[in-house]
């Protein structure tokens, strides 16, 4: 980490395994969903986390929220270990915004009660204070005050996602985990929610962890980007650097496959040989080597070390 800035969120060699049954007689096997991830997010930064599905992004997010304990390693928030913290103190510091605003809001509760629930749980202020704070929050996220008494079913997708944002922000957390915040929304609504996230970050000095498979959104919002493959971070760098000069072959393949809205360029040929490997039985050595174009003999033998330099972090034998 650079300078005197202390990371507000820090992960040290975090690992999470799941026991997966393979049938009646075969016993259980360990699935390494997240395998030795170390990351730091500075205050005010937006860390974009990208990768294909089943690479462990969501497991990582769930651990950060305290919904899953890590099997090994430490998660520090503001320099304090997450493991020792009580759920309540934790939830004041870190809050989620989920992908699907249709299933993440209780359909039987009114918007006002959904947004004020954290205040009630934490016993902050009194009834009239709650009402006032919720109304201020509604203003902040750009919802009319009259939706206070509406049910989520009466709102559009974009409005619901605004409610989810308001609920996440009412306790003034430092870190917000956005797990695919716009992928279930239409293009025009997506732009509204992204604009909201941008302006809230400026106004409240928030730190985001943005998990998304939409690389255009990540490029637009993130200040740093981490690329994840089969439970490991394979490259981490500043956004400009990563998009202009990707180093890891997987990052390159990922960026190549993005269909940017530029007509006339045609569909790119993606050089990713074999399909995604079975996470239960990951390839030996570098887990990316069966699909890698620049594969070397040592790649199938030993896992590449993570190398840190002024350009960021990369885990590949090409750079070690």
């Amino acid at each position: 980490m650079t300078g005197t800035l202390r990371p507000v969120l820090e992960l040290v060699d975090v690992q999470r395994t799941f026991q997966v049954s393979r049938g009646m007689w075969k016993g259980k096997k360990n699935l390494y969903a997240v395998n030795g991830v170390s990351l730091g997010v500075n205050k005010g930064d937006v860390l974009g986390l990208v990768g294909e599905s089943v690479c462990g992004k969501t497991t990582l997010a769930r651990m950060l929220l305290g919904l899953l304990p890590p099997t090994r390693g430490q998660i520090l928030i503001d320099g304090r270990a997450l493991a020792g913290e009580d759920r309540r103190t934790l939830s004041r510091k870190i809050q989620p915004i989920f992908q699907d605003p249709y299933s993440s809001l209780n359909p039987r509760k009114r918007v006002g009660s959904i947004i004020s629930l954290p205040l009630r749980v934490h016993k902050v202020g009194n009834r009239s204070r709650w009402h006032q704070e919720v109304e201020e929050m509604l203003d902040l996220v750009g919802l009319p005050r009259r939706v206070y008494h509406s049910y989520p079913g009466q709102l559009s997708g974009g409005q619901r996602q605004r409610v989810a944002v308001a609920r996440a922000l009412i306790m003034h957390p430092e870190v917000v985990i956005c797990d695919e915040p716009t992928s279930s929304l239409d293009v025009s609504v997506q732009a509204q929610i992204l604009n909201l996230l941008i302006s809230l970050r400026k106004e409240l000095g928030l730190t985001y962890l943005l998990i998304s498979h939409n690389l255009a959104v990540v490029e637009h919002l993130a200040t740093r980007v981490a690329v994840m493959y089969l439970g490991r971070i394979v490259e981490e760098a500043e956004t400009d650097r990563l998009f202009q000069r990707p180093r890891h072959p997987y990052t390159r393949a990922l960026l190549e496959s993005v269909l940017t809205p530029e007509p006339g360029l045609g569909v790119p040929a993606v050089h990713l040989g074999a399909g995604f490997p079975n996470p239960l039985d990951p390839p030996a050595g570098c887990t990316f080597h069966p699909r890698c174009l620049s594969v070397k003999p040592e790649c199938s033998e030993k896992a590449p070390p993570s190398r840190k330099d002024e350009e960021g972090m990369v885990a590949c034998h090409l750079y070690s």
Partner: protein, 334 residues
């Protein structure tokens, strides 16, 4: 010029308790052999309904009407269900949105692939099996022979979508309708699938109607595109024309909403379209976009504009002159 598919003044109405839902209104377009037409729009704009209307797969309560709906000189409006079933899957086939739900879980992949060929062509099972293996290999599935005996749940999402594509190709159709074929898939697989579809299209000289809301896909895949809003086509043109100089205010709005690498500055606000789509139920007055349009005037609230053709493939549905729209669009960009 003979069109492969000609649609003129297509309407789809669905009776709902609150009245009549006009899902598709006055939609007209043509598709030439071998070309790709993209129907673009946000959810609820009627693009999937248009596809289902062409295939005659609409829900039973829906009513379809059109001036012309012809497929290689056959009038689809007058065909019986049996005659339509002869065309469907043979000369015209569809790739559905969700590979998870559109394969039958209780039949093997091989069974489902061969079914279309056995239904339409009087061939032997072994010939059908050969064709299935050939196509599975074409769509990039390894060990195709052993896949034939597998069930859909044994395959990943990307593989299932490839199976769907292979299935649509079994009888070498002249037209493929692909309804959001890659929404549930990763970007890497998405690129592979479109690469494959484009290759196959060239090889078999198929036409394709691609339905999507992703403007990135449209830009890279489409020859021509039709932007839909609230059940109507609001702008048509080649991909180059529409992306370089959009005319309809809605297209302007859509294009300003997406971050483009190198053009939009990081962390700056994106454009947005204020307001919400009008309800498709009951009668509408005026242009369907007028309540959200930044350039609307009094005319817009009273008269619904017709499509103004500019050239053979270019047209837009707005009261304003093209020069005015271009100027206003320029001003927004600056």
């Amino acid at each position: 010029m003979t069109h492969l598919l000609e649609v003129e003044d297509l309407h789809v109405d669905i009776p709902v308790p609150a009245g009549e839902l006009h899902a598709v209104r006055r939609v007209s377009f043509t598709v030439q052999p071998g070309e790709t037409l993209c129907l673009v729009g946000e959810s609820g704009c009627g693009k999937s309904m248009t596809a289902l209307a062409i295939m005659n797969l609409l829900p039973q309560v829906a009513r379809r009407s059109a001036q012309v709906l012809s497929f290689s000189r056959k009038d689809l409006l007058r065909l019986s269900e049996r005659e339509m079933a002869d065309i469907r899957g043979d000369r015209m086939s569809m790739i559905f949105q969700e590979p998870m739900t559109s394969l039958n879980p209780s039949y093997t992949i091989g069974n489902q692939l061969m079914e279309a060929l056995l239904r339409h062509r009087q061939g032997s099972r072994s010939a059908a099996r050969k064709r299935a293996v050939f196509l599975l290999e074409k769509v990039g599935i390894s060990a195709a022979k052993s896949r034939l005996g597998q069930y859909p749940h044994q395959l990943s999402g990307g593989l299932r979508q490839r199976v769907m594509i292979a299935m649509a190709l079994m009888c070498e159709p002249e037209l493929i309708i692909a309804d959001e074929p890659t929404t549930a898939l990763d970007v890497t697989i998405q690129a592979q699938i479109f690469h494959l579809l484009k290759d196959l299209q060239r090889e078999f000289h198929m036409a394709m109607i691609l339905i999507t809301h992703d403007l990135g896909i449209v830009a890279r895949v489409a020859d021509r595109l039709a932007v839909m809003y609230a059940g109507q086509i609001v702008e048509t043109g080649t991909a180059q024309e529409v992306f370089a100089s959009p005319l309809h205010p809605y297209t302007h709005g859509l294009l300003s909403c997406i971050p483009v690498p190198g053009k939009t500055k990081r962390g700056e606000f994106l454009g947005s379209i204020p307001g919400i789509v009008p309800t498709p139920i009951g009668q509408t007055r005026g242009c369907s976009f007028h309540n959200r349009c930044p350039w609307a005037n009094l005319d817009c609230a009273s008269g619904d504009p017709e499509i103004r053709p500019l050239s053979l493939n270019r047209g837009y549905r707005c009261h304003l002159e093209p020069e005015v729209l271009k100027k206003k669009g320029q001003a927004v960009l600056e």
